[in-house]
Symmetry: C2
Subunit: 149 residues, 2 copies
DNA sequence: TAAAATTAAATCGAACTCAATCAAATATAA
DNA sequence: TTATATTTGATTGAGTTCGATTTAATTTTA
C-alpha cells in the first residue's frame, strides 16, 4: 500500500502491500484481547456478538441474525445451540412459517447484560487509537461492509 | 462509535458501537472475495498469505513465519504440511538447532507466483475505497498491530 | 558436569467458518 | 391441482484458530 502506483512486477504480492492482511491480523488480535474478559462470563467471541444482537432485539430469526452478523446458518446453528444449552436463549420454530427458526433471549440472558456491560470499556483501553482515529477506522470499515447492500 | 462520549448505560453493548465487530466482519468479507481467485490456484487464504512470505523470503523458520503472520505453530503446522504435500515447500530441521524447523520454497512454489501475481489487482477492484482511504485504513490497522512490539 | 529453565514445534481439544448439500415448507406456474 | 422453483434452516466436511500440553533440543545455572 505504501506506493499505490509504480508497483513493479511482484510488489503486489508482498504481504506488506496487502490491505487484507492487516485487516485479518487485526481482527484476530482484537478478538484475542476480548478473551480474558469473555471467559469471565463464559462466552466465546461469536457467542458474545450474537448476544449483543439479542440484548438489542430480544427476538429474531436465524436468517435476520445472520444478516446482522455477516454469518450463515452453518456457523450460527452450533452457536445458538450452545447459547440455548446455557439457558441464555430459546429456539422455537415460527408458527406462521415452520421454516423459520425464531431465537429469543431468556431472563437469564437479559441478566448477563449487567456483567457484559463492563467489557467494552475495559477492552477499549487495549486499543492504541485516539478517539478520532477509531472513528475514522470505523467509518472506513463500514464503507467496505456496506458496499454490496 | 458514532458518539464516543455520553454512552448511556447499555449503548456500549450495541453492535453498531463496536470497533471490533466491523473489523471482524470486514476481514471475513474480504477473505471471501479472494476465494474464487484462490480456488484457481488451489490455495486457501491462510496458505496464500504463507506463500506470500515464501515468495519474498524463500526460506524461513516456522517461528519467524508465525511472527510475520501473527499465527502460532498450532495453526501453521497443518498449513505447512498441506503446502508441502502440494510440493510448494519443503520442511527440514535446522542442522545448527534441531528445535528449529526451516521451511523452504520449491521450484514449483516459485512458479506459482506467476499465476498469483494476477490476484491482487483483480481483488482490489472489489474493494470500494479510494486509494487515499485505503492508505488511511492501512495506517490505522498497522498502528493497532504494532502496539505491543 | 548435572539439574533446571527456556525454547521451538507438534499435538490435542474445543470452537469457529463456510461451501456444499439436504430436507422441509412455501410460493408460483402450468 | 400438480409440478416446479424458491426459501429456510440443518448438516456435513475441510480447514482454520488458538490455548494448553507435550516432546525434544538447547541454554543457563548451581
Amino acid at each position: 500500500m505504501p506506493e499505490n502506483k509504480d508497483f513493479c512486477n511482484y510488489d503486489a504480492l508482498k504481504l506488506e502491500n496487502q490491505l487484507c492482511f492487516p485487516l485479518y491480523a487485526c481482527s484476530r488480535e482484537i478478538i484475542k484481547k476480548y478473551r480474558p474478559f469473555l471467559d469471565e462470563i463464559d462466552l466465546t467471541y461469536t457467542q458474545y456478538i450474537a448476544m449483543m444482537v439479542f440484548w438489542e432485539s430480544g427476538r429474531i430469526s436465524v436468517k435476520e441474525l445472520g444478516k446482522k452478523l455477516f454469518l450463515d446458518s452453518g456457523t450460527l446453528t452450533p452457536v445458538l445451540k450452545s447459547l440455548e444449552s446455557k439457558g441464555l436463549v430459546t429456539r422455537k420454530r415460527s408458527t406462521e412459517d415452520e421454516r423459520v427458526l425464531m431465537v429469543e433471549i431468556t431472563e437469564l440472558g437479559q441478566q448477563l447484560k449487567e456483567k457484559a456491560v463492563t467489557i467494552p470499556p475495559r477492552v477499549g483501553g487495549c486499543i492504541a487509537l485516539e478517539p478520532e482515529e477509531a472513528m475514522t477506522l470505523y467509518r472506513l470499515l463500514y464503507k467496505i461492509l456496506n458496499k454490496d447492500e
